[in-house]
Structure formats: structure tokens, C-alpha cells
Amino acid sequence: MFDTLIAGLLRGNVYALGAVGISLVFGVMNVVNFAQFSFFGLGAMLAWFFVAELGLSFWIALPLVLVICGALGLLINITVVRPLAKFLPLAAMLSTYAVSQILDNVSQITFTAEFRVFPKVLPTSNFHIGNMRFGTSDVVMLAITGVVMGVMAVFLKYGRTGQAIRATAQDQEAALQMGIPVGRIQHVAFVIASALGGLAGVFIALYVGIANPTSGLNVGMTAFVAATLGGLGSLGGAVVGGFVLGILEAFGIHFFGDTAREIIIFFILIVVLIVRPGGLMGKVPLLSTEPLTGTFLGKGRPLKIPRWVWPVAFVVGGVVIPLVANNYVLTTGTQVLIYAVIAAGFTVTAGQAAVLALGQAGPIAIGAYTSALLTLYLPVSFWLAVPLAGLSAAIVASILASPIWGVKGHYISIATLGIGTVIVAIIRLVEPQGIYGITMPKWGDTLLATPVAYYLIDFGVLVLTLVVMWRIRHSHLGKVISSVGSDEIAALASGVRARDYKALAFAISAFFSGVGGSLLAHQYTYIDPTIFTMLMSLLVVTIVIMGGVSLPYGAVIGSIILIGAMELLRFTPELRIVVYGLVLILVVRFRPGGILVRNS
């Protein structure tokens, strides 16, 4: 029991460090900083490199890691985050995600993706109380965290810069008018956060004994949840959130096993968000404007598309390409079409209802598994399985999401991320092996297993999807959903049950995600839980943002660029993600409303 508690404290200690950084940046910049995640992985790799490769002493390596991470953080803030955060907090959030992709992959190119054994720099089991064993390493880690937190607390309370950080967090505008150099304060916050991330990364490596460039994501997610749990922007909350989560997680793993880890974490998160929508120690104002609306959406108008474009696009996509393209292009095209279906369906949630759901991999997975199981074990044809997959995705996702629609602002994105993760984690728990030999579509007795057949089927589904989305967008219902996304309080005052329409939009999106998942399953003929990652969810989000977040046809353009053009870089997977990150940053910087939206 005591062992579990100590394990929890050690994990919690890492989460707390990370969460303080995330909360700090959120406080002073109103940006959720995904780049922070990379510093966990990067900190670990740098420490490994200095100690194991260069043979430096751990005590020299540690400050070096902190300095490098801090400097990198400063660079990121100057070049990417701050220029965007000034006018578009959400764009900045997405660009931090792109930065984290770039960092992870550069680190992977440099250090390779191998798992490295982290040298044992301090004894790990030289003490014992009763029959519980622990080591100097553990004591040192807890002590360093204690000191860092103490120094941070004193610095924030009494230091001039610390006070300026707090003032900036409370009201940027006012702080600026009082002569606080807000820009510099934000740099300082970013540097501290990045260094803390690096420190947390070193601690993970010490604790687990293994370092890997991509290990940051998992820990980062958990630290992020811890920050949310405590209340984004509240530093005390971040520490409490970190330790609470670490300890609950340790006990959860002790009783239910490691596979239940994500389920436990996000279950706790969702419960807290429902009971205390602003986190344990955060506050949500009674009458707030949604922080995400009006800032990202609303600026810019969709480009006028000349009428002739539609029939031409239809002929090119449905006739010319299937006739002239080779199998490679057709297979890639099929991927483009499937993601376009998913993303077009997602525009009603992300664009119109302005709920930036970050967990679409969940409903996609439900669709894929439903369709695979139905066609394998029941006499259900592909043609019936596709809509059933959509329906089951819509129903299951809606049931799981039903408690979250009162959650506001950034928190609702995080809650949807949690739901997506939980869905996939449950699938992994029930069916860890994956499913082979998923049946291919048939028409009568003809097997439709050629690339051109897949392409045409999916093209048909996309056309149907676009027609449905167009109908919704131009109906009274579409306007009502948009009103909810634009100003929830005004919508309520106009007699619109805002929560219900968010739920409906999410259900519509989940339906098309399920349909897309089903199409993927029948094309791959093999699925397993590793396909449906957070990366997939974020890909869907970036596709919609790329094209114009509320435009269904924009999703098609986004998909062509992010799935199709990226396929060209298939031969170099690491570079592919770097380019992907750069494209995203450029789009967000120069066409913040999406490629098909004119700035205004």
C-alpha cells in the first residue's frame, strides 16, 4: 500500500512540474501549450545524451538540460506562439501542437526512435521502511521538486517579475497599462515552463529508467489533465492536480492494471469538470463569453466559389481520376476521400457549434470496430454495415459525451479529448489484438476489392456527406447550431437550448466519423487500437481548420493537402511530420480562418 503511495507521489511529482508549466503559460497567454509535451521527451533524451553518450556527470547534465529547454522555449515563443497569440489564442494553441510535432520528430531524427536505457545515476532501492523500499533517487527527486515549488511560490509572491506574472495572468490589458512589459513577462513564463518541462522529463527518465523521444506525449497528456484538474491558470491547482492524479493513477494501476491507466485519468478529469467546471481551484465566471468563440471564428468570409467549380470537381473527382490514375494514386485518393468524409461531418461541431472536439478518433474507432464485427460475425453486408457503423458511433459517443455539454471554453475540448481517449482505451482493454480479415465490399457476387472500386464507393459516400452537410448548413437548424457556437448566452435568451444543439452537432459529426471509420476498416481489412490515436484526432481537427473550420467543402481541400500531398513525403516519415507542422503554422499565420476564407 505504501509502495503504491510512494509510486503515486513520484509520478505526481512529475505531473505537478509539467502541470505548473502548462498552467503558467495558460495564465499569462491564454494558450494551451502542447509544445510543453515535447519538453518531457526532449528533457529525457538530452539528459540521456549528456550522461550516457558524453559521460558528463548527472549534476552537470541537469542544469544543461534546463538551460537548453528554456532557451528553446524562448525561441518558440518569439517565433511562433507570441505572434499568433496576440490575435488568435486558438491558432496559437494549434501552432504549439505543430511545434511539438516538429520537436518530437527532430528529436527522433537526431536520437532515433529507440528506447534507451537511462543510466542509474543514483541508487534506487537503498532505503526501506518496514518492507517498503525506495532510493536516494526518489528522495532527491521529491526534494528538488519541493525546492523548485518553494522557490516558485516565493518568486511569484514577492519577486517583482513574479508579481508581474501574476498581474499579467489576471488582466493582460491592465498589466500593460501599468507599465508591465507583458511581452517580456510572457517570455519569462515560457522559459520557466519549458525548463520545468525539461526537468520533469529528466525525472521520468530517472524514475522509469528508460528514455525515448516520443515518450513526452503520454506524460504531457497526463500533466495537461493535471493542470486542467487543478484549474487552468492556477499554479497551486496545478501542484494539487499533479499529486492527486499521480496518487489516484498509482492506486488505479495497482487495482486495475496498467491498461486502465488512461481510462482512470480521463474518468477523473471528466467527473471533476462536470462537478467543478473550472477545475478544483479555478474559477469560472458566472456570465462569460466563450473564450474560443469570436476569437477564432467570425473573422473572415468564405471565398465565393463560382458555380462551375462544383460540376467540374464532380467530374474530375468521380470520372477523370478513376479513369486515368494508377493504383497508387487511387489508394491515396481513397484515404483523402475517407478523411474528407470524417472532416466534412466534423465541421458542424468544430465550426458551427464551435466545439473544438479533440477526440474524433473515438467515434472513428467505434465505426471501424462495429463495421468489422458486424460483417465478420453476422450476416450483414458492407452496404448496411456502413450506416450502422455511423449510427453506433453517434449513439455511443453521444451517450458518453452527454454529461459534458455544460462545460465551457477550452475545457470542453479537453473533455472531448478525454472521451475519445477513453473509447479507444476501452476497445484496447476488450479487444487488444486487433481484427484481421475484415470482409471486402461485394456487389451481388462481384468482389469490389480493386483500388478503383474502393475509390468510387468512397467518392459516392463523400458526395452524399457533402449534400447532407450542405442541407444542414442552410436550414433553420444549421443557423440555430451556428448561433450556439457564436454566443451561447444570447442563443439561450432566444429560446435555443444550447446544450442540446451542441450534443446534436456532436452526434452528427460522430455519425460521419463512424462512417469514415467503417470505410477505413474495410479498406485496410485489418484494424487494431494503435490506429486510432490522438494524432488521428488532431489530424481531423487540422484538416477542418486548414480548409475553413465551418465549411464542409473546405474539409475536402484540407484533406487533399494534409492527406494527399503529405503522402508524397511517405518515404520519409519523420520529415513528413515536420513539413506537416510547418504547413499548419503557415496556414494559421497567413490564413487564420482557413484557406477558403478571406481574412477581414
Binding site: S482, S494, A503, L504
Partner: protein
Amino acid sequence: MSGQLLEVVNLERHFEGLKAVDGISFIVAPSEVVSIIGPNGSGKTTTLNLVTGTIPANGGTISLDGLRIDHGDTARIAEHGVARTFQNGRVFATLSVADNIEVGIHSTLRASRPFRSLSHLFLLRWISLLGELFVAIVGTPGSRRERVQIDATVQEEIRRFETRLGPRRDDPAYSLSYANRRRTEIARALALKPQLLVLDEPTAGMNQSETVEVLEQLLELKAEGQAILLVEHKLDLVMKVSDRIIVMDGGRIIAEGPPEVVRRDPAVIEAYLGHRRVPGGKDTA
């Protein structure tokens, strides 16, 4: 009890220690224009927020036409016929002027919302939502007829502000001037065909000529028999349009009556203008 449109009894709301609204009672009769005035922080906007359910009350009752509406369900209060505008002009920024107004019609629609009577019943509300979805995608003869009505109502409300909103009909609301946002908001509220129209400082941030325009529109609405609950700082407008004025200070009602009576009430003069400056003493204004 009966015969009143809005009846507020012992309404209370506190924010932590502060009693923003401290046990007030008042009525609005059908076709009556009632204004609430008072210094900043006296609880006017909080009162409006409580009546429209935007924030929940800590105590007291609110009834509309004899029906209790203090359940805090804002959308349902709107369905019962209370429409409002906000102090800082909350329009749907991404929607056009016409679409903003169309959202206001939402709670009066029938054919576009086939199972709307289920819309507030826990799980059954999904039947209502899916009904709306079906109509949106497939359409029914009834919904197509209703579309014509919707467009007509939108046109009718735009006509009220014809010279201002007419040319901006299809422009997104974020591109509108401040005054036009306020007009769009009023048009959206009127599209709900409200029993009671609640206006929170409709002329805030408007210049003299725009204020006069609002006054004329309010008088027109009054002539149509529209009941209005108004919070407004511009006293000459309030005096011209109101049947009755309620004066609040420190969360309480300190005076109430027709404009000419309230105008001369010493308590009102004190609350608005403060005490006379006593030589050598502290300025209490």
C-alpha cells in the same frame, strides 16, 4: 394576482457577500412600459438577468401570466415569451443580420420542429432533435411552407429598421457598427413575438440622433401594445417612454411610480445626484 403580465415577489440574488438584488417586488401589466433606473451597481441588470433566467435567483418568485418562470431555464423562459437584449449587444457574430433574426423565430416554429413539445424532456428531447435534423436534411411540405413564413417575418423585422439594417441584410453581424448590432439584437428579440420585451440599455454607446431613433422605435412598439421592461441611463428617454418607473439603489427599490412623480422624489434625487456638498466636509457624491 391575475391580470398582471410579469409579477416579481421578494426576488433575491447575492454574489458572495454582496446583495445585488435584495428582496424586490414589482409588476409589469400587459402593454405596459416599465423602466428600471438607478445608479451603477444598484442591481438593475442583475434584475433583468434574473427575470430572463440568465442567472439563477437565490430567493423569491417570478411569474409570467400566472406561470412561474423562476426555474432558471433561460430557453424555456424565452419560449414562454420573454425576449431580451444585452447591455453590450450580443449578436451572433458569424451569422448574417437576417439569420440572426431567424434564430429569434426559433421558439415559435412548428413544422421545422415537429416534436418540439418533447424538447425539454430528458431523453425524449432526442426525438425532438432528430425530428429537426430530419426536416433540415429531407424537408416536409409543412417545413417548406414555414420557410416562406420565416423569410416574411425576418423581412418584417428588418423593415422596422429599414434604412439601417435593410442594406446590411446579408452581411455577417461582426461587420456591423455598434448601433446596428443593437438594432439587430432588438429585431431578433421582436422576432420571438414576445409577451414581454426586456431591454438592457438599448442606447448605451449611441449618440444623440441614434438615441432619438431608438426612442421613436420604442414609442412605436408602445403604440403597438408591446409590454417592455427597460433598463436605461438616459433619463429623458425613460421619462418619455415609460408608463411607470422603478428606482433601484443598493439592490432595493427606493421609489416607484409614473415619471412625473419619480422625477420629484427626494430619495431619487439623492440616489442620482448625491448629497449636497457640505463646506469643509467630505464630498459624498
